[in-house]
């Protein structure tokens, strides 16, 4: 049986130029991309390739200067107004005066969920990120990895099918990162969300994704889109299989090709 997968994010010749004091900077040019429902899409590339900018365009934090983009079939602005995505930033950005449970309650308060519903959702999402028992702690009492998990819980607390993650584990050490990658895959499996994930780590991108978007800088553009052939069930040691290494080398080649005529 073949069902045409619904497109969650669809970009056509999308461009974004920042006007700076040193003249215009092409952050994105001619991006054509489709993210389908249930996909786990990674955006990988060196800094300045526009991967974060593309994520911010989806989230309506930046406005494109050319081309079109739809999110859930509407403009990014309407998608934001419909609260159809959760955003996880590079830093946890927890509010220091709120306890963990109050931080997770923040979007729920803003979106007007009832007190009972808030309580149930806080409990459920804390369980999803394995932070049950830390609800009454303040952010500074948690480690960096736990803080980032709390910020993921905050993005999962309300009913958004799309999760946008901007290098969420970039500031964490390798061991914590492996652990969180494993947990994120389980979470994706359990929640059926569509995830857009920005990273600059090749193993992380290959391990997590169903689709890898390779980008290159000056001007920021997509150079390759790789569909992963890895199974949905991925233990950590899948990273030593030939299949994994083959995808990783294709990603590395894509990155090198994007770089070659610059350096």
């Amino acid at each position: 049986m073949t069902i045409t997968p619904a497109s969650v994010v669809s970009a056509r010749s999308l461009g974004l130029t920042f006007e700076t004091n040193d003249g215009p900077v092409n952050a994105l040019t001619g991006v054509d991309l489709d993210v389908n429902k249930g996909d786990f899409v990674s955006f990988i590339g060196p800094s300045g390739c526009g991967k974060t900018t593309f994520l911010r365009v989806i989230a309506d934090l930046e406005k494109p200067t050319s081309g079109t983009i739809t999110v859930n079939g509407t403009t990014p602005e309407d998608a934001r107004k419909n609260r159809s995505y959760g955003y996880v930033f590079q830093a946890a950005a927890l509010y220091p005066w709120r306890t963990i449970e109050k931080n997770i309650a923040l979007p729920l308060e803003i979106m007007g969920y009832s007190a009972a519903d808030q309580k149930a959702r806080i409990e459920r999402t804390l369980d999803l990120v394995n932070l049950t028992g830390f609800s009454k702690k303040f952010p500074w009492q948690l480690s960096g990895g736990m803080q980032q998990r709390a910020s993921i819980a905050r993005a999962l607390a309300f009913d958004a099918d799309l999760l946008l993650m901007d290098e969420p584990f970039g500031a964490l050490d390798e061991i914590v990162r492996d652990h969180l990658n494993e947990q994120l895959l389980k979470l994706w499996d359990r929640t059926n969300k569509t995830i857009c994930f920005v990273t600059h780590s090749i193993p992380e991108a290959v391990y997590l994704s169903t689709k890898i978007v390779v980008m290159s800088p000056r001007p920021g553009r997509v150079t390759d889109v790789i569909e992963s052939t890895l199974p949905k069930e991925r233990p950590l040691d899948i990273r030593e299989t030939p299949e994994f290494l083959e995808i990783a080398s294709r990603v590395r080649e894509g990155l090198r090709a994007g770089h070659s005529y610059d350096e």
Binding site: L61, W97, I110
Partner: protein, 294 residues
């Protein structure tokens, strides 16, 4: 690590300075008050030795500089020995000044916060108001105080409010400056988060800007309450007020009652210290509730 000790860490340093100040004060008393004793002795034609002068300098009626024990005795006499409704009670005068201080501080805080909210949310207000807020503080308060009293009197407002408004004039400034900084203190990432939730401006204000500004507010409040007291005292000086600590200072200087001046000064200092300490406790209590790392 040694255990922190209240006696060693708090009482000892403060006590040492206090003791040094007292010693300097007594020495100054002897030398500043001695000329009067020498003149008196010379007029009476009786020779007087230094050792005879010293005890006399401690108990003059109108000393150039009263001795600490004279000031303490005066404070004791005018607080404990007089009913607080009496015009001769220092507590009565302190209360008059305190009521103007608190009213002025209250209005100043409210005004300061409102101005800061306007300045943060409105570019036009930021451009137009901030220079005036700063300019307002370059005018000497002593010059503008009588004007405020006179103008308000002309429109039929007298009594507590004009004095309070002079306190307001001084105390709103640190609140505006502190709160503008505090309301702008949230990081871009925290504001972006609110944007992704499609939060309304009022939600962003109450759930982000306001709590983020609390440490700044309390720091400003501590400065504001101390200068609100100065404002109330200054408001009593040029206006012919008959009660309040400012009036006591003025009356004391008219009649050469230096002991009265000094006791009023100490009362004002004690009042200011108490007010700042109370704000400090509120600061600690609020920040503790907000989960600040101890």
């Amino acid at each position: 690590m040694e255990k922190p000790s209240f006696l060693r860490d708090r009482i000892m340093p403060v006590g040492t300075i206090l003791l040094a100040l007292l010693v300097i004060w007594y020495i100054a008393v002897i030398f500043l008050n001695a000329p009067f004793e020498r003149d008196t002795a010379a007029r009476a034609g009786t020779p007087i030795s230094f050792s005879e002068i010293v005890p006399k300098t401690m108990f003059q009626q109108r000393p150039v500089l009263p001795a600490p024990h004279q000031v303490v005795a005066e404070i004791w006499d005018t607080t404990v020995n007089k009913p607080i409704t009496s015009k001769r009670s220092l507590v009565y005068h302190a209360w008059i000044t305190l009521s103007a201080t608190l009213l002025g501080f209250g209005i100043g805080t409210l005004l300061g916060i409102l101005l800061a909210v306007g300045i943060v949310h409105n570019r036009a207000m930021d451009r137009s108001l901030m220079p005036w807020v700063i300019a307002s503080q370059t005018i000497p308060i002593l010059a503008i105080a009588p004007m405020i009293i006179v103008v308000l009197n002309a429109v039929g407002i007298a009594g507590l409010l004009p004095k309070a408004l002079i306190s307001t004039y001084l105390s709103f400034f640190p609140i505006v400056v502190g709160m503008v900084k505090g309301l702008r203190s949230p990081e871009q990432i925290q504001l972006d988060l609110m944007h992704t939730y499609y939060a309304s401006p009022s939600q962003t204000f109450w759930k982000l800007r306001w709590p983020a500004s609390m440490p700044y507010l309390f720091t400003s409040l501590k400065v504001a309450i101390a200068i609100a007291l100065v404002g109330a005292i200054v408001g009593e000086l040029p206006t012919g007020a008959v009660s309040g600590l400012g009036a006591r200072l003025l009356a004391g200087s008219y009649y050469g009652q230096t002991v009265q001046i000094w006791s009023a000064l100490f009362m004002a200092a004690a009042l200011a210290a108490t007010l700042v300490i109370i704000v400090g406790f509120a600061h600690t209590a609020v920040l503790r509730r907000m989960g600040v790392k101890p």
